[in-house]
Structures are given as structure tokens and as C-alpha cells.
Subunit: 173 residues, 4 copies
């Protein structure tokens, strides 16, 4: 007896999630780095918060198709910019992380919103404060030939959405 | 010969703007309070930033129809909640500023976005840090029978949009 | 004694959903009216689509907290406008369904987006074509002292989100 | 020596706008094609609407930086997909115009919203009905090795935003 519909779904979804997790790692981001941010965002609101709860929330966020699509698209643009393979003036806008480019922030809205509008607040905060890995990626993007224009926003948005998911679950307990 | 079309437009638009400025004042917010926030948000990015430049940007934001509509709607809901005139369970959700209500944040998205997506980042930051008048409104809302569920987000969003407008203009000089 | 946390959650969530379903009925909308719209939106894309599948999708949409909050808030504003209980100029903007008011469309974005961005396309289409109950609500709002400024957008958004949910599930089978 | 700040701004802004207009033409879209859609969207709402008024509105939309950034980014992704230069699975998602990809719709939100939330409704309608050039681009994308995954949404969003601008101006006369 072979795979029924549901198993195939899980397999495909799982694969896309694995592809995204691997891609994040190739670009220098471990899940533990995102756990650090989510934990710091929520520890003062949720009593007895554990890193495991944060990691589960990140897993739920990474399992969503719109999140996977945003990750694949944003990181592709970063990598193409690193290889100088984009047309001008887009190449310069992305490789310089021009503050008025704004498409990076638009792209990650679809991530922020997967657990409701409270994700936006957390995203804005994280995008401004650049805690942990986000600050490191930002500094590397500015100091080296690495391009992290989309990646730092993607990480901030995943963390913000996961924090919202933690908040929703805590509220409902 | 009297008022041509354009003058009438200006008159109407001006009136709506005046209504909003007056309404903010009635609810305890002076334009100078918002200038404080915009100035702090942008001073490290814009050399020689003046309070006058911030105030002009706030004026541009308050002149936009979608901003005026969001102000009128949000403050109305706050005032109805104060008078206990909303139906349950909405009355409790708004008067308690339930963190999962989220409609306050949705409503002010239309304000944040009037000068592009970078307004979102500033909004999230301000909404989390609650500088100046925003922190005062939040504390008053929690300690008294005042309801500022929408007002604090509205002020944060006006400040964020004005900061974006300042940033755009500075970039283009 | 039973009642553990999870049961209480389900009870509360269920109650909010029931409150919303009842409120829609009081305002003249049956779930079957929304099924009609979802079925028409998706029948040409999903082979063997049944009304039951559409109704289940609507149930999933109505079970989401951000959807419940948008329903409660929008219908409250419609009802207050009918009773002439809003301050001017908001009273006139809402009771006349002013096409530049726009807050009705902003409010329902949180509904459209619960199953990803494809909900937006369906919402725009439905908002323009006004099929079934949406056209009836719109006509009643214009011809009588009923106010359906928010309600017609709410119904369109619930239908659009449910259609997205049907599409996602069909794709994954 | 002349060239003051303002002239340089206008020159730069003009150049970006010209780059976008030329890029649209290279991809098979004339401004007149977009005028057709805007005119059809608004003719029943605006008495004595002319094609010139529609063309001016399109010009205002194309003069906005967030619109220019979205055009450059989306068309770049289409062109890279045509050349088979994207990584998998993104290459397949974009070149097949997968209905659950959704990033095309997210990207053009920044265009739709430049004249307020009513742009969303027009966008959804146009995206579903595919009038004029949009239907042609869609058919070409499916029948040939051309990729128009982003382009058709970009054109729909420019038309929707321009229609909103026409509506705002008409209302205010």
C-alpha cells in the first residue's frame, strides 16, 4: 500500500520547510539564533517561557507556504545581488540596502501577518533594534561583499510571527 | 466672484484636518507631543533636523484623507468604550485594550503606509517603546477610566508616517 | 470535575464564533448566503466541489479570532450609524457609505489575509461584482435606513478567505 | 553652474520613471494599454472621463518610488525565470505561475495602496477579469516561454491605483 494523499502533502510541505531551513543555514542563520530573538521578545509577557516553546512556534511559522515563498524569493534576490547578476538600477538598490527601496519590508509582511496583526509591531521593533543575529547580518552586509538586504528582514519577520504565535497560545491557556 | 472648485476643495480638506487636530487635542494630544517623537526617531539619520521640519511632515500626514478617516473612526470607538456604549463582547475587548484584539493595529496601517512601507518599521518600534505622549496615554488608559486603545496606536502611526516623510525628503535633497 | 484548560479554550472560542454567526443572522445574513458566493467563486477551479466543502471553509474562517474581532467591530459601527449615535462627520461618512471612506476595506483586510494573499483578489472581485447577498445588502443600505457599509465588505471578505481556504486544500490533495 | 538640489531630484525621479516606462514597453506593455483598463474601470463613475485624465493618473502612479521599485523587482524576477536563472524550487514556482505562490500579489500591494485602500478592490477585480493587455500577457505567459507571473499583476496594480487617483480627483472637484 502506498502513500495516501495526506502523507504526500506532509512530505511535500515538509520538504519545502526543510529546503528553507537549509537555505537559512547556508546563509548563516541557525534556528537557535531565531529562538534567541523570540525568547527575548516574549519572556516578559509569558511566565515560564521556555526555548522549546519558542522553537515550536518558529517551526509552525516555517511550515506555512506563504512564509516559505517569501524566504525563497528574498534570499534568491540577495544571492543574485552578491553575484552581481541583477539589472541596474535594481542591482545597486539591493546591494546597497537603500533605505527607500522598501520591497524587502513589503515582502516580509506576508510572514509577519501569519498570526495576526500583532506580528507587525514585533517586526518593526526588531527591524529597528536589530538584536542578535539580525545585527550581525546587517553589519556583515555593510562590511563585506555579502548582501543581506532581504535576509535580515526575513529573520525579523519569522521571529515576530513566532512571537505572536507564542502570545496567542499563552493567552489561550 | 467667489470660491472656485479648488478653493472649496482646500476649504473642505482643511476643515477635516482641523477637525482631526481639535479631536486629538480634546483627547489630550498636542501636535508638539508628536513632534517630540518624530524628532527623536529621525535625528540620528538626518543632519540638522529641526522641529519645524518634523511639524511640517506631521501636517502633510494629517492632510491625507485616509489618515483623517482612521483618526475619526478610532477615537470614536475609544470614546464610545469610555461611555460604555458598545455591545458586548466588543465593549470589554476595547475598554481592556485586549492584546489580541488587533483591530487598532489594522486600522492604523492605513496611516503608516501613506509614505511607503518604511512607516511600518517606525510604527512597530514606537508601539513597543511607547515614547513620550504614547507612554502617558497608555498609562492613563490603564490607570483611569479613560480608553486609549486606538489613540496610542493612532499617534504612533502619525509619528511613524511623518518620520518616513522626513526620511524621503532628506534622501531626495 | 472535568473542565481542563483546553475545553475552556474551545468553549470560549466556540462562543465567540457563535456570537458572530448570530450577529450575522440578526443583520440578515445566513451562512448559506455565503456558501453561495464561495461555491460560485471556486466551482470552475475545483472539480467536484460541494457546498459542504465551502461551508466547512467558512467555518474555519469564522473560527479565527482576527475575523471575529473584525466582524464585531464593523457591524457595531453599522448599527451605531443606523441609530444615529456616531459623532459628525463620521456619522455621515458611514451612513452614506462614502466611497472614499475606505476604513471598511482596511478593516476587512485582516479577514481576507487569513489564508494568504490570494484572498485579496477574490475580495476585490466580489466587492466589485456584488454577487447574491452582497448586492442585496448594498441595495438595502442605499434604499432604506439600514446601514451596511461594513457588513457587505465583511461578507465579501469572509467569502474570499473561505474561497482561498478551499483553493489551498484542493491544491494540496 | 546651475543644477540645484530640486532639479537633480526631478532629474533622478524622472529617470527612474523613464526606466520603468521603457521596461514596460520592452515587456510588451504600452501606456495606452493601461489607459484602456483605467478608462473602463472608471467611465461609469466619472462623467465626461477622458483618456487624457486616465493617462495623467498613470503618470502620477509611475512617478512614485515604491511603484518604481516594485516594477523593477517584479519584472527582474520574470526575466530571470525566462532565462532559467533562478534556483529551484523558486524557478518552477515562478515560471509556472503557481496559484499559491502569492508573492506577486504581495509585491504589488505597495502599488495598489498608493492612493488609498480603494485601489485594492479595483486590483482584485482586474486580476480576476484580466481585461485587455492583462489577458494577453496571461495567455502569452501560458502558451509561450515568456514569463509574466509578476508583470500581469504589476499592470493590474498600476491600473487599479490610477483608477483610485481618478476617483479621488473626481470626488474632490
Amino acid at each position: 500500500m502506498s502513500g495516501n494523499g495526506e502523507n504526500m502533502v506532509n512530505k511535500t510541505t515538509q520538504s519545502m520547510k526543510d529546503i528553507c531551513v537549509n537555505l537559512l543555514q547556508e546563509r548563516g542563520v541557525q534556528i537557535g539564533d531565531i529562538v534567541d530573538i523570540v525568547y527575548d521578545l516574549q519572556k516578559k509577557y509569558v511566565t515560564n517561557l521556555t526555548r522549546g516553546v519558542c522553537e515550536e512556534a518558529i517551526g509552525r511559522v516555517l511550515g506555512k507556504r506563504e512564509v516559505q515563498n517569501a524566504i525563497l524569493t528574498g534570499i534568491e534576490l540577495d544571492m543574485l545581488a552578491e553575484k552581481n547578476m541583477l539589472s541596474e538600477p535594481l542591482q545597486t538598490l539591493i546591494s546597497n540596502d537603500n533605505p527607500l527601496y522598501g520591497i524587502d519590508e513589503i515582502l516580509v509582511l506576508s510572514i509577519c501577518n501569519v498570526y495576526g496583526s500583532i506580528g507587525l509591531t514585533n517586526f518593526g521593533y526588531v527591524d529597528k533594534m536589530k538584536p542578535g543575529i539580525i545585527g550581525k547580518l546587517d553589519a556583515l552586509g555593510k562590511a563585506t561583499n555579502k548582501c543581506h538586504t532581504f535576509l535580515d528582514d526575513i529573520i525579523g519577520a519569522i521571529a515576530a510571527a513566532a512571537a505572536s504565535s507564542v502570545a496567542h497560545n499563552a493567552e489561550e491557556d
